[in-house]
């Protein structure tokens, strides 16, 4: 990846990298990045403190990293511990470790296998969660697939297909506590819910599975299952 305009840099012990344009930035020890960085690959195996914004094609955090500003990448993989104080945007975001993003998250493909806390809105075409997550704002995705391994929540959820199921763990999970999803409003075209608490669920075809508590379901097509549904109504005529 060496290039005169994009030099590679590597911190193996303890060190500081100044902001700028790089090829590969590799932090294996403990490193501080001062300023905004634009690089092709950003890899953290140790501990990194990025005191600016980061723009990179691939971002891999296997160790622990904290980002003061926005993070923008094509392929972002957080398998360690990542803390983003700004917003995060990517083409593909995979979180298998522990991640906290204070701002908004936007990526066509989001896979969550670990624990994730998002402060702002979360937008994706495909949102696939098999872990624990919290979205402070709106979770808006074309296809939302959630397998509950723990307590998950979002302020609101909207999309085309929303599918929430209790995970069928193939190992015993004694420390997981309650496994459920909490949201104010869930709105979509096709909705399937299990173990969900929501104030209102609106959609075309709604299926309410086991373990739900829903104050109100509004549907235009069909409603299947009614256990835990306090009130439901079919919405048909705009003038009614």
């Amino acid at each position: 990846m060496s290039d005169t305009n994009r030099p590679d840099t590597r911190i193996a012990g303890a060190g500081t990298v100044s902001g700028g344009t790089y090829g590969e930035v590799m932090i294996a020890g403990a490193g501080t990045v001062r300023g905004d960085v634009d690089c092709l690959a950003f890899k953290v195996g140790g501990v990194a403190d990025v005191q600016g914004t980061l723009t990179a094609q691939t971002i891999t955090v296997g160790g622990s990293a904290s980002f003061m500003g926005d993070v923008k990448g094509t392929d972002v993989v957080f398998s360690g511990n990542a803390d983003v104080h700004g917003a995060l945007s990517a083409e593909s975001l995979k979180i298998s470790g522990v991640a906290r993003i204070d701002g908004a998250v936007s990526a066509p493909r989001i896979d969550i296998r670990g624990t994730t806390k998002i402060g702002g809105d979360c937008e994706a075409e495909t949102f696939d969660a098999q872990g624990v997550f919290s979205v402070g704002g709106l979770l808006n995705a074309g296809v939302v697939t959630i397998k509950l391994y723990g307590g998950c929540d979002a302020h609101d959820i909207g999309g085309e297909t929303i599918d929430v199921r209790l995970a069928q763990p193939w190992v015993f999970l004694p420390f997981m506590g309650d496994r459920n999803l909490t949201a104010d409003a869930i709105e979509g075209d096709t909705i399937y819910l299990e173990s969900t608490r929501a104030k209102v669920v609106r959609g075309a075809n709604v299926t309410i599975g086991e373990g739900c508590t829903i104050d109100l379901v509004e549907y235009t097509g069909t409603l299947t299952g009614s256990a835990g549904v306090v009130a439901s109504r079919k919405v048909t005529n705009p003038t009614a």
């Binding site: 075409e125 808006n140 074309g142 909207g158 999309g159 085309e160 297909t161 104010d184 709105e187 005529n237």
Partner: protein, 216 residues
């Protein structure tokens, strides 16, 4: 004045669109973030939209979809994504964004400036509309440019129209709010009324298609 609002539910029923579609459009940036107005209702928080703007936007999106435009193309056409700061005369002519005649008017007013800022370009574009339709003469088009250059900052935030009035051969150019009705004396003729937000959208979509042309 607070614009009339429409609830999300009513919007979907009125326009025959689904929640999924609406959320998709939101993700694609087809509907501006600040159009989503959250209000508390008896079922908790509900989302409302500015009625007129939203209905017009949905209609536009649906009609563009009928023409087989992709969502990205629609997003480009309706978005308020940043444009370059200035536009050169040559690029504008090459892309057929505005006519040479309208640009010449501007050049007469500001000799020696080859680059136009967006507000100036809008003024030229409005003058272009007036000239092309044959509604306005050269002097009137010039007056329109002058009025917009001075008044643009005041009306940028709200929806305004540029109006050309004529009485016994004397013409007046003014900018009024889009919602206001004009009551004029009997000899006065409203020659032209150009809705500025609409003109801006047309202008932007031309600029963007030009950009695409340059890229490809």
């Amino acid at each position: 004045m607070e614009p009339e609002l429409i609830s999300k539910k009513d919007l979907l029923l009125t326009c025959g669109i689904s929640y999924g579609q609406l959320y998709r459009w939101k993700r694609k940036g087809l509907i501006p973030e600040d159009w989503f107005v959250r209000k508390s209702a008896f079922t908790g928080q509900e989302t409302f939209f500015p009625r007129e703007k939203m209905l017009a936007r949905v209609e536009r999106i649906l009609s563009m979809k009928d023409e087989d435009a992709s969502l990205d193309e629609i997003a480009e056409a309706v978005s308020s994504a940043p444009l370059p700061d200035t536009f050169s005369r040559d690029d504008l002519l090459e892309g057929d964004v505005v006519s040479a005649a309208a640009l010449d008017l501007f050049a007469d007013r500001h000799p020696g400036s080859a680059e136009l800022r967006f507000a100036e370009l809008l003024a030229v574009a409005v003058a272009d509309t007036l000239l092309r339709s044959g509604d306005a003469g050269r002097d009137e088009a010039l007056a329109a440019i002058a009025t917009l250059e001075e008044g643009w900052t005041a009306c940028e935030a709200t929806s305004c129209d540029l109006v050309l009035l004529r009485k016994m051969g004397v013409s007046v150019v003014l900018i009024v709010s889009s919602v206001s009705e004009l009551l004029v004396e009997t000899d006065v003729r409203v020659v032209a009324r150009v809705n500025l937000p609409e003109r801006i959208e047309v202008l932007k979509s031309r600029l963007k298609s030009q950009e695409r042309g340059v890229r490809s």
